[in-house]
Symmetry: C2
Subunit: 97 residues, 2 copies
DNA sequence: ATCATTTGTTTCCATGACGGAAACAATAGC
DNA sequence: GCTATTGTTTCCGTCATGGAAACAAATGAT
């Protein structure tokens, strides 16, 4: 069972949605995350930097259509932190039912 | 079925915990919320003002041990907004499972 | 009545998060 | 070289947040 650790880094609304996107796939390109977010590319880049610095996200450069792109993924540590945060939220939800 | 509307006012970590506390009781005194939070009384007062201004929280003055206190409660509107927000979180959690 | 205590609000001030625009860097293709 | 694409960093303004202290209101004590 996961520790229900509330994580302020993940909790911020945009980052929560970013983590949710990344949790559902093996890897998503920066451009797709950008399209599915409501952020400018500079803001998105900064959020991803924060998540990367925490060790939650990594980017693998890939090439598609002649251009190099970032394939973003949650790291194992990131998946655990995200799962723990969701567990903390789940606990709040259950307490309130 | 509730609308899964994400509510930034409720989402902020301390306010989320405040709403969670209030959702579990008919009324809680300011002092108890203060003890169960990690906020100064000024910060708590300001958060409660925000929730009150949104129509999510009301305070009923009561007297206990010779002193008047605020008995805080979620309003019906507040309960709905909180439930909707939890539904939005629940949706995120389920998407990520 | 005066003073101190309790309960909560408001003011003041400092800090940090956040966001977008624009400049920048790196790479690929023409 | 020149342009377009992908993403980062810099710059700058704005808003959220928090605590301390001053304040207000009510009660009890002397």
């Amino acid at each position: 069972m996961v520790e229900p650790r509330f994580d302020d880094l993940i909790h911020a609304p945009h980052r929560l949605r970013i983590c949710a996107m990344l949790s559902q796939a093996e890897g998503i390109e920066f451009g797709e995350v950008l399209n599915r977010s409501e952020l400018s590319k500079s803001a998105l880049s900064k959020h991803l930097s924060q998540l990367a610095q925490a060790g939650y996200v990594t980017d693998t450069p890939i090439v598609r259509e002649g251009r190099s792109r970032q394939l973003l993924s949650l790291t194992p540590v990131g998946r655990i932190a995200y799962a723990d945060h969701l567990a903390a939220l789940q606990r709040i939800i259950e307490e309130s039912t």
